[in-house]
């Protein structure tokens, strides 16, 4: 009989909540950034693009460590939150969201940017000659044509956040109900030699990933179309 412990269910719920929040925020943040990167000819485009891609290469622990330092009481963000009389961000769900957003940034920006670039100038110029103003063109031509890119971005961000471990451990620690996500819960079970529970959660992860990818492939067969 398969039965999750309440703490595991909590971890699953928290993971899904974290992944959804991150994906939603990232769509809002990545779209303008991807649009800018796809269209700009400024000299510092390369620098911004490189910064945006850093999380691809940096070990998550390094990223987590710097974020922890920045958000800590002596860090820049930490001082800022102190001035605003907000709670300190490390070891909170909000801190985790911020970390995840940064960690998954390239996974959202790159497919969207590629999709914008693949669309090219032609349809937008056509729209221009058909009396569509800037925002009109953006919403009625650029966004719909970049749909496959957004599709990839959502999937990649969501699954990437679900599987995240290093950043969470450094930044969020291991607080049940607040920052203890699935990957951390599995780690805890293994540490405590609770192999059955670890199997259960890991199996759920494997099944989840497989189902997501299967649905994607069945739906369009072009998951990575925008992600070159």
């Amino acid at each position: 009989m398969i039965k999750f412990e309440p703490s595991d269910l909590q971890a699953i719920w928290l993971t899904l909540k974290l992944a959804s929040t991150t994906t939603l925020l990232l769509l809002l943040a990545a779209t303008p950034l991807a649009w800018w990167l796809a269209n700009t000819r400024r000299w510092y485009k390369g620098i911004i693009a490189a910064l945006m891609m850093m999380p691809l290469i940096l070990p998550p622990t390094v990223l987590g460590f710097y974020l922890l330092t920045l958000m800590g009481p002596h860090g820049l963000i930490g001082k800022f939150t102190h001035i605003l009389q907000m709670n300190s961000l490390p070891f909170t769900f909000s801190g985790l969201v911020i970390g995840s957003v940064i960690f998954s940034l390239p996974f959202a920006v790159m497919p969207i940017q590629n999709a914008f670039e693949a669309t090219g100038k032609q349809p937008l110029e056509a729209a221009k000659t058909l009396r569509a103003g800037y925002w009109d063109r953006f919403f009625t031509v650029a966004l719909p044509l970049a749909k496959p890119g957004f599709f990839s971005a959502v999937i990649l961000t969501f699954t990437h956040t679900v599987g995240e471990f290093g950043v969470v451990l450094m930044l969020g620690g291991n607080i049940p109900g607040e920052t203890q996500v699935m990957s951390i819960a599995i780690y805890n079970h293994v540490e405590a030699l609770e192999y059955n529970a670890a199997h259960l959660l890991s199996g759920a992860m494997v099944l989840f990933s497989f189902i997501v990818l299967l649905i994607l492939n069945l739906m369009s067969g072009r998951l990575f179309k925008g992600f070159k």
């Binding site: 032609q122 110029e125 056509a126 000659t129 009396r131």
Partner: protein, 362 residues
Amino acid sequence: MISDIEIHFKLNFHDFNLDVSFNAPSKGVTAVFGPSGSGKTTLLRCMAGLEHSNEGLLCVNGQIWQNHNIFIPVNRRPLGFVFQEASLFSHLSVKKNLTYGFKRIQPSERIIKIEQIIELLGLNHIINRKETMSLSGGEKQRVAIGRALLTSPRILLMDEPLTGLDVKSKYEILPYLERLHKELEIPVFYVSHALDEVTRLADYIVILDKGRVTASGNLNETLTRLDLPTARLDEAGAVIEAFVAVYDETYSLTRLDFSGGSLWASKIDRVIGAKVRARILARDVSIAAIKPQATSITNVISAQICEIQDLGPDRTSLRLEIGDYNHKQVIMSRITRRSRDQLGLAVGMQVYAQVKSVALII
């Protein structure tokens, strides 16, 4: 000639300069003709405002679209633009593509109606398609033309709309362009490097080379100028506007009358009185000093030589006036230089032009 479109652009790219200044009539089709790289497309893009020239003046029917301190953005210019590639919106249905611009203009400005465009461009069988992927090249371009026309533009700019198409689609679409020319009173700027398209469609021509205007003027006047590079092309020729006068059923021939004369051509499927354009290539016109008595050439026309220009060591171009005194038409002839000398041809001489073939183009 009414010159209602005033054009002046100066644009510097690092490897190309455009420097043009001319007037064009605000009715009929103006062909912008020239080899690739001559700046035709750039000129059209400047007119549309898609390219921002640092120095420019564009005045359409008294309305300034661009001068030293005005630059009306593309989306506020009442123009239609047809690109070389149809550039349909692949996420929209055929109908939504057609009405994209239509929806964005004031209802009071919607002079051209959707039903009219569907009829004019023969879109009936594809109007209900949910997507544009399955359309043929010619159908896509027709939708693109319809989409542009449905903004009821004050001017239609077409950038080599037939270049990307195969020969079959091209001949499928040309009649529609001709109808457009006849039925809508919208001035058209038509960029092309194909002389046959130009002779079929244009009334006025602007010849560009290396970013400069080499010549501009009425189509036939300009095409028959011997000093221009167009006269050196293999398919150099004259265009004569004529109408269908008589059918000869026995020999399956058509007599075309034009002011000042007539020509026989192969039978065409048009009603008597229909206006047609006939194209007479320079290489199909030979010269006889005295009237040929027994010849297989059907069209032997009395002509006067008004200009002679050698094309090289072997060939010579002649500009000939045909027709009566009041209605002169101009055609060209290309002969060998030896024939010129043997016949002792000179400007002002009366000769007989033997027209081997007359191509009907409308």
